[in-house]
């Protein structure tokens, strides 16, 4: 069974909405902002693609957001954006499921909660921080806000979070547990993440270029990318169809690229993963990479899915102008530990 992509909800360093991402895919790349964090006795500023959730005002009142942290706000904005894009903001949410993938979860809130616990003791730890730090917080905020009573699930498998969440979403639709699924990926850039990136990778070596596989050039990103999915025939496939999702390990021979497809590679400027992409047999096959539009983050594959969906809708393999013709698209994410996620899409 193919799965229709009805709508996209996107927020990241490129802005908000499908048009903002499309603009970045065309080559109008966003300039990174700044992530400031303490490092030893110094304060360091690193480039990072930061997301602005101000457009949430279009969908909910400020008062209703006051207990919702930045991480969940990005997810909420992605979810509302996808429904709005599909023209389904007023649809019955009774059989709407929510599946959220995240590599890091609500890291800023989680570390703020831990800091308050360590510095002031358990009696001074914020209950609101705690409630936002639980694993399913973002999905729960979405379900509550939309009054969606279908399954509400969070999946975390670092860089495989999105393919894994997508497998769950497809299964929910195939088992008729929901009529529609809001499937999204969300991750945030915070001071602790900035520290870790500096500690493990140092500053980016030269300009951010994810197709330069041998060089560490990753620039951190944050944001949310949501897709509104439904079974074929039950919704308008405005952005084409998801055909298949595969996960496995490269060293066990599981990765087989479909013959007639262009590739959207999930390379994001990390040298450790870059060497795996470098070893792929993709000579002569059209392949692109879009991380310069949204940055490096574990749920990058959600943005790649959105970019592929836009390519299908526009019949254009971004950033170029070449038609896709009868080719399908495959989004491929390779993780440094040898895992892969492969998602096949077609018009």
């Amino acid at each position: 069974m193919r799965i229709a992509i009805e709508g996209l909800g996107l927020v990241g360093g490129f802005g908000f909405g499908a048009d903002a991402l499309r603009n970045a895919l065309k080559g109008n790349l966003p300039s990174p902002g700044t992530l400031r964090f303490p490092y030893g006795d110094d304060s360091i500023e690193a480039p990072a693609f930061m997301a602005d959730t101000a457009p949430l005002d279009q969908f909910v009142t400020k008062r209703s957001l006051r207990r919702i942290d930045h991480f969940s706000r990005m997810a909420l904005l992605g979810a509302y954006g996808a429904l709005d894009d599909a023209g389904r903001l007023d649809s019955d949410p009774a059989r709407l499921a929510v599946v959220v993938g995240s590599g890091y979860g609500a890291s800023a809130t989680t570390f703020a909660f831990l800091d308050s616990f360590i510095q002031d003791g358990d009696s001074c730890s914020s209950p609101t921080h705690f409630s936002n730090s639980v694993h399913n917080a973002a999905a729960a905020h979405i379900s509550i806000s939309l009054k969606a009573t279908g399954p509400s699930l969070s999946v975390s498998q670092f860089e495989m979070s999105v393919p894994s969440a997508l497998l769950c979403a497809l299964q929910m639709l195939r088992e008729n547990r929901a009529d529609r699924v809001l499937l999204g990926g969300v991750d945030e850039a915070c001071a602790v993440l900035g520290y870790c990136r500096q500690r493990f990778f140092g500053a980016p070596q030269g300009p951010f270029d994810p197709l330069d596989f041998g060089r560490q050039s990753a620039v951190a990103g944050e944001g949310a990318a949501f897709l509104l999915l439904s079974r074929e025939g039950q919704g308008e496939a405005r952005y084409g169809y998801l055909n298949d999702v595969q996960m496995g390990r490269i060293d066990q021979g599981g990765l087989r690229l479909p013959e007639k497809s262009a590739l959207v590679l999930g390379a994001d400027g990390h040298q450790g993963c870059g060497r795996l992409y470098q070893s792929l047999p993709i000579q002569g096959r059209a392949h692109v990479c879009h991380a310069q539009a949204y940055g490096s983050l574990p749920v990058g594959p959600a943005f790649d899915l959105a970019a592929a969906a836009l390519s299908l809708k526009d019949d254009r393999l971004y950033p170029g102008t070449e038609s896709l013709g009868d080719r399908s698209l495959c989004c491929l994410k390779l993780a440094e530990d040898g895992n892969f996620g492969l998602v096949s899409l077609s018009g």
């Binding site: 006051r66 207990r67 209950p127 409630s131």
Partner: protein
């Protein structure tokens, strides 16, 4: 008055009342229900916030309930406890 002023800014900042300006609040502003619109989860947060910022522990909610009526009653409760 100093406690009232501090409470106003703490309420707006720590309870994330982004839609309210400090000058809209005064000592007679009711905290819960139709006043500021705080609820039971806010009450728990408020207990934590008061301990953190003023060092005043509210262990008994029976004792805390009258204090949680308005910004003024809460400020008076804090002043009384910090003076003791």
């Amino acid at each position: 008055m100093a406690t009232v002023a501090k409470l106003k800014s703490i309420l707006i900042e720590d309870m994330n009342l982004e839609d309210i300006a400090p000058e809209e609040l005064n000592a007679d502003t009711v905290l819960f229900g139709e006043g500021l619109g705080l609820d039971s989860l806010d009450a728990v947060e408020l207990v934590v916030v008061i301990q953190k910022h003023f060092g005043v522990e509210i262990k008994d909610m029976e004792e805390g309930r009258p204090a949680f009526q308005t910004i003024g009653t809460l400020a008076a409760y804090i002043d009384e406890k910090t003076a003791a």
